[in-house]
Symmetry: C2
Subunit: 250 residues, 2 copies
């Protein structure tokens, strides 16, 4: 039996946002590895072993998955959203590069998923309808100065922005600093979308002008979208539509 | 009968990358509207009218869809990839904002899809595994000077980059200029991925150092991914794995 490792994206939460490709990979798996709440989304069945693990042990989890694949298992590493966007794919490849030579020749595939910013954008309208950037606001693995530099340059480039991991309990101050930088750098009152747990029963969407945003509007389950200078609101019954036009005048 | 309009992403090409949510919306549609090759991906059935239209008539198409929804039809506007990423969602909302007041209160939903850059990144490894940006290189709807400004700022921010619409037959020179700017601004020989028609029978993936890239490597079916300064190649049998590590040293 030849082992394999699939790094699969489960999408933002709803079952009907899981691609059939990922569903098929899970149906053939012998082992599913991942962060506890993501593994909890995979149905148990005979012949499948679930290996949930805690947050912040991504490299250990990746090595465990690679070892099992080397031993002939069909392993699926699950991420929420897309595995290549601030998720498990990079961690697995870091482990491959640092690991035994045999790991490089494993059958390794990455299966894309609906990442949080696209699910959130769809709920709000089309705020990312023009050029945009995605920034992980956690400074666990990079210096805060780099985040700040990227925020200022992204504002200067007039990108719409998507922020992942905006605010954790252990590091609540980064998002407050982010809002200060944006208020300073953007020079206008553009729309900001706080999208929490999109497509789950806990989904919550808030649309707030930049100057009225407060740090507590975000937590680790929130993705934050910031429009560019041309982003518009269409008022109507219920929540407005937020969208960024395709054209920029010369 | 109450009409509705759904703006749905069909993903990059393969059927098993279409979300069940989009499949369900198509099954309930009375009318499907979109660019000819995307409408061609929808199976004909009794009760469903297909309305394929040519490229560059996005606003006309959007108005047609909205008019039919106002008339009580269940309309699905199809895009490839994700409808909110350089696709039909913004065009529909432009039409809504400029159109009759009644269009604002239609039942309008956007259903996300697997956008080309994420499908391409998954094939290559995890090149977008850290902060990144997405830029549409077409200057049909924005001045070239803005594209050039964004490219230089994105390089300064050390974003990995994804380029949509890199090169059209009518405007072949923009991508050549893009490569010149990147060679000048990046100051190193980072990996570039040319991913054409990912997940279709015509799929082709090329991994090329920046200094060896030539404009003809891209066409309108190609998405181009450029690593950041830390992006790495893992050599192995067959194509190397390209990934961007999660950590940046202080």
């Amino acid at each position: 039996m030849t082992g394999s490792i699939v790094i699969a994206g489960l999408g933002p939460g709803a079952d009907d946002l899981v691609t059939p490709e990922v569903t098929a990979a899970l149906a053939q798996a012998t082992d599913v590895v991942g962060y506890i709440p993501y593994v909890a989304r995979v149905a148990e069945r005979p012949g499948l072993t679930l290996h949930p693990s805690d947050n912040r042990v991504e490299l250990d989890r990746a090595r465990h998955a690679l070892e099992m694949a080397c031993g002939g298992r069909r392993v699926v590493v699950v991420s929420s959203g897309d595995p290549g966007v601030f998720a498990m794919a990079s961690a697995v490849f870091e482990a491959v590069e640092a690991g035994p030579a045999g790991w490089r020749d494993l059958d390794i595939r990455v299966l894309p998923g609906i990442t949080a910013m696209l699910a959130a954008a769809a709920r709000a309208g089309a705020p990312l309808g023009h050029d945009f950037c995605a920034i992980n606001l956690s400074d666990n693995l990079k210096p805060w100065a780099l985040i700040e530099k990227r925020l200022r340059l992204a504002a200067e480039a007039d990108f719409a922005m998507a922020f992942y991991n905006p605010r954790s309990k252990s590091r609540p101050e980064g998002f407050a600093k982010t809002l200060d930088i944006l208020n300073d750098a953007c020079g206008d009152d553009r729309p900001v979308i706080f999208a929490r747990a999109v497509s789950t029963p806990e989904e919550m969407l808030q649309i707030v002008p930049l100057s009225e945003c407060t740090p507590v509007m975000a937590d680790m389950r929130t993705v934050v979208l910031v429009g560019n200078s041309t982003t518009r609101l269409i008022e109507r019954r219920g929540a407005p539509i937020v969208y960024t036009p395709r054209a920029v005048a010369p």
